[in-house]
Amino acid sequence: MILNHIIVLIPISLLVFSFITFLLGTVRRSLAYPTALVGSAISVACSVVGLILVLQGGPIHYYLGGWPPPIGIEYVLDYLSAFMAVLTTFIGFISIVYSRKSFAQELPHKVVPLYTITLLLLSGLCGIIVTGDLFNLYVFLEIASLTAYALLAVGEKRAPVAAFRYVIMGTVGACFYLLGVGFIYFSTGTLNMADAAKLLPAIYDSRAIIAAAVFIVIGIGLKMALFPMHSWLPDAYTYAPSAVISLIAPLMTKVFAYVLIRMLISVFLPEYLSDVIPATLVIGWLAAAGIVIMSIMAIAQDDFRRMLAYSSLAQICYVALGIGLANPLGLIGGMLHILNHAFMKGCLFQVAGAIRYRTGLTSISKFNGLGKKMRWTMGSFGIAALSMIGIPPACGFFSKWYLMLGSIDAGNWVFVGVIALSSLLNAVYFFKIIEKVFFAQPDDDIVENAAEPPKEMLVPIVIMAVAIIALGLVNVYIVTNILEPVVNHVFN
């Protein structure tokens, strides 16, 4: 019986547990962490069971309140959303495990609200993933955004200003998305994605639908920090608390990239966004420009977290490049890169947090010789960095490989060149750190006294690093069983 409800339990378990966390945390502060851990563990279990059910029996549809669509709200767990749900809840669980020591050091008085809001953020992200309703997606999008603003704002002294910029840009993005949904609603009279996809082809030439598509693409582009609309991201990521950023950096922009893919494959069909209005062409070229420019910006940074933020911007452009190609191989590459980059960037930001926890260092120029003192941490960093550069068998190689194949398939040799060039640029900024960390001699007392972070932080870091290799080894399974059905469904 419970299996019927598994899809709604993914966001609801997190939602309910965020309130239980607050109530128990008010009684006793030390109860907040275990409660949050239990809540996110339940959501991981639900999403894994959901993925297994989808792999066995195909997509699951669930009608909230028993009202069938198009009147009621429908939740859909198909291959793509089941895959994203497992990714999101798993990264959420790992970062909650990781967060305890970090919060205890940085923000000991705010632990209860932080865990409450973290669970609420995860609930919003899971809701975005499983919903099959355009307006319901907006509601969850606002839940995820508002909680993310709050989490990013509690960091260092400059964090509130950075978060405020994010509030402005994020609100504009959400508002554009809502305008687009409004246009779709008054043209078709439906908010259900599957229903809208059926009704839209008849009125593809209508100006309202063109405006809707443009508004939605720009709005989601702002939210996912697509290249020219990215200015809010570096500051927000740099000044946030380290445990928060190791949750938000892997998930937020990726989930919005998922929304863009969802719009491309489930609402407007690819032939509309690539032929009738050249949206995917624009996304693709912006992404190509963004990959190069953001990689160069990353080379120029000295603050480790800021460098990772710029690197995130370059990586989200890979996903956008896959969307922009709008052909089967490119889309597989983009979706696979969502998964790979979530693990790589999660690992890297956790390493940054661990270094900060033990030494307080954030500046790359002072990292000399850190590898000898923090072997496991920096070893994991090395794996993640090699994966970012794209060296097999780490997973980063495979998504770039599919993106390259997609570009060749589309006959777009410029994109092939951009991907190759950006791998070189990635190598430049990661080898700069690898050289300092592993081959330079310690020249600083702080580094001399550094030690491995506590086990609660080290274990998540190592798990992420192992997962990077493991995902690289099992990527064929993921592609053939999960991603190819998504693509085949769209392009046939």
Binding site: M1, H5, V16, F19, L23, G65, G66
Partner: protein, 144 residues
Amino acid sequence: MIAKYKNIVVNIASRVMAPFMMLYALYALFHGHSSPGGGFQGGAIMAAGVMLLRLTLGKERSSRKFPVWLAPVIGTTGVFIFAGTGIVTMLGGGNYLDYGFLPFPFLSPSEHRFWGILIIEIGVFLGVSGIMVTIFDCLTAEQE
């Protein structure tokens, strides 16, 4: 800290008005099915009553009636009632938030839905009033 407002007319008037505002909030909540009103509106009026006391009597005096820590607890309890109702309907065999499956004995399906929506509205009422007072308290909180 907001001090007590030094004007006897304002003080007495707000102390008379506040209980009636809260009573009207309950009316707006329970009469929301058949007339304008509902959980959100009722909750906003309820919070306005508390805020009026906070503004005129001062925070110290008014928190004897309505402590600062209580507001977020009420807010979360409210949303918890909302989400919990959905879980109860799932245990009753229906989909999430399908009020027809609430375990009320001796009631017809339409009455199930009537009482179900009222429970939801109570949850919304508590949630909105708690969170609005919390926001007010945070905005007027003293710097540490």
